[in-house]
């Protein structure tokens, strides 16, 4: 094959098949992938752990499991241990009989088999199933400057932006192959030039903007380009503390799913913006002003694809991406207070808060867990997106404040305050 990028002797030898046919194919895949995007070389993956996006044992993904077997049989397993996106099923989450039958016998029939493959390939541990692997409780938190081979879009944008690591928006399987090889092609968000902003976002709202709504507006405007956000730092208290990280987790997931953002800079907050400031902005950067009216316009334009637009919600999902520990705690307090004000003792719509197994474990060790349970809110490690991404979910009116869930499913978006109102006082 014709190779455009510069390979080291070792990389060329792998490509020539000196370490076996399977590893040669892995190298060919990554070299061709890099060549398409003008990569000049392959660079070592430096993070301690990897993270893989494909966590579901879907019958439809049988070819992926066959490919995994080829890698395992050839000993071409991950050079790093890795965490995974969330599991697709949890008996804690309300479902009807038909859903149970379809999930178990038609959709996720390969779950157990697939998790067995993952253990052979390098899974960190049985709890390492979450889209927020970067949480302290989970322990897959890359360092600034680390080169990653991740694919989960919400984790990639968080790692690039909030942690200052470097990772492209890869596809599933490419994430694993980078880790098997120990190298990824150097292009896009791995390079200094590729991390410069081609958009300036001016936030001029009169109150703290809803993270998921602001992220949606930014994502839809800039698509895959890099935005530099001014005016948000004052709403984040001027520092990157746990609350700001939680806010940016949700903001970033919305930019990545409503657009295809892999990196953003928040003036005076995110590490590269603090270090380099406006040197990160390209000369020809475009400007997008976001005020209260613009956020309202974005909100009003979301289509409602429920068959009956006036249906009473039957389920509420919070936690796409998975909630942080401080988010679980603050929501416990908010739900309690709102129930008390309404004269209710339990939520009036079945409500599921999702978080990483290790975060749920830490939450369980606080007094808040029992208090949340008392409100009737269910906690789960499930992936709400996988729960809903099937033909049966179109029949069920689900509400959420996740813009990612809204984008990929028929879930209806409401702001955090509206969700709180609905689950504690009654839906529209």
């Amino acid at each position: 094959m014709e190779v455009k990028m510069q390979l080291t002797e070792e990389q060329q030898a792998i490509l020539n098949g000196e370490k076996g046919e399977t590893l040669a194919k892995v190298m060919e895949t990554m070299v061709r992938y890099g060549d398409v995007f003008g990569a000049d070389k392959m660079v070592p993956v430096t993070s301690k752990y990897n993270h893989l996006v494909t966590s579901v044992g879907l019958k439809a993904l049988a070819p992926v499991y066959e490919l995994m077997d080829k890698l395992i049989d050839a000993g071409a397993v991950s050079k790093q241990q890795f965490s995974m996106d969330p599991r697709p099923m949890d008996s804690n989450v309300p479902s009807d009989l038909l859903q149970d039958i379809v999930f178990k016998y038609f959709m996720f029939t390969r779950q157990e088999f697939y998790e067995g493959q993952l253990e052979k390939l390098g899974l960190m541990n049985k709890n390492a199933f979450t889209c927020t692997c970067y949480m302290d409780e989970v322990g897959n938190t890359p360092k600034k400057g680390d080169i990653l081979s991740w694919a989960e879009s919400s984790a990639v944008v968080y790692a690039n932006s909030v942690l200052g690591a470097r990772c492209n928006r890869n596809s599933g399987i490419i994430d694993l192959m980078g880790s098997v090889l120990g190298y990824v092609p150097s292009f896009g968000l791995l390079t200094d030039e590729g991390r410069k902003a081609s958009w300036i976002i001016e936030v001029r709202t009169t109150k703290k903007p809803e993270a998921q709504l602001l992220g949606s507006a930014v994502g839809m405007k800039v698509m895959e380009e890099v935005p530099y956000v001014r005016g948000l730092d004052k709403w984040l208290g001027g520092k990157l503390d746990d609350d700001a990280k939680t806010y940016l987790k949700d903001f970033g997931a919305a930019t990545a799913s409503n657009g295809a953002v892999g990196l953003y800079h928040i003036e005076n907050i995110t590490p590269e913006a603090v270090e380099l400031g406006e040197k990160l902005i390209r000369e020809d950067a475009k400007v997008y002003v976001i005020d209260d009216q613009e956020l309202q316009r974005v909100y009003d334009n979301y289509p409602v694809i429920w068959k009956n637009k006036d249906a009473k919600p039957k389920l509420c999902f919070m936690g796409c991406p998975h909630m942080s520990l401080n988010q679980l705690i603050s929501w416990t307090e908010k739900v309690e207070a709102s129930l008390k004000a309404a004269g209710n003792t339990q939520v009036v719509i079945p409500t599921v808060f999702t978080a990483a197994p290790d975060v749920l474990k830490a939450f369980g060790e606080t007094p808040y867990a029992a208090r949340l349970k008392k409100t009737g809110v269910i906690t789960s490690y499930i992936c709400p997106l996988m729960y809903m991404n099937n033909p049966m979910s179109t029949r069920k009116p689900v509400i959420t404040s996740s813009n990612k869930l809204r984008t990929y499913t028929n879930a209806r978006y409401y702001t955090d305050d509206e969700i709180l109102e609905q689950i504690t006082k009654g839906g529209k």
Binding site: L58, N170, S171, N389
Partner: protein
Amino acid sequence: MKTFKGRPVVPGNVTAEALVSHGGLNTLASFQKALQFGDKKATCGDQNNTDLYGKQMFGKALCLPQTIGSTTGGLVLYCACSMGRQPACMLFSEPIDSLAAAGAILSDVWLEGTPLPVVDCLGAEFLEYMKDGMTVTVKEDGTVEVS
């Protein structure tokens, strides 16, 4: 006949009937139902794509700007190719995105033959010109002839 010239991402020769998506193709939303429930025609299941929803994608020359959506997109495309439910080719008006590139390259490297020829950078005019049902001939060097 009109001719367009793009970049062959996965070179191949094929002739097929055009199917046009003016918006980005959400790969997961478009293929999941077909792959999950044994639809050999690969009927597009993405309700948000008004150009493609309900139409057969298998065997068509799929003309589009880019793919969008979940980063599982590449492996979904790989699965479609492995299960023989892929389009005849994918023709991108814009530079290909990382998810579609991954799916196309994975299929070419790991599956037999050339299951999915791909050409990108065909330009905005290409997508404006294309209509469903036109006959498209793709050549290895990235030439796309439309009649």
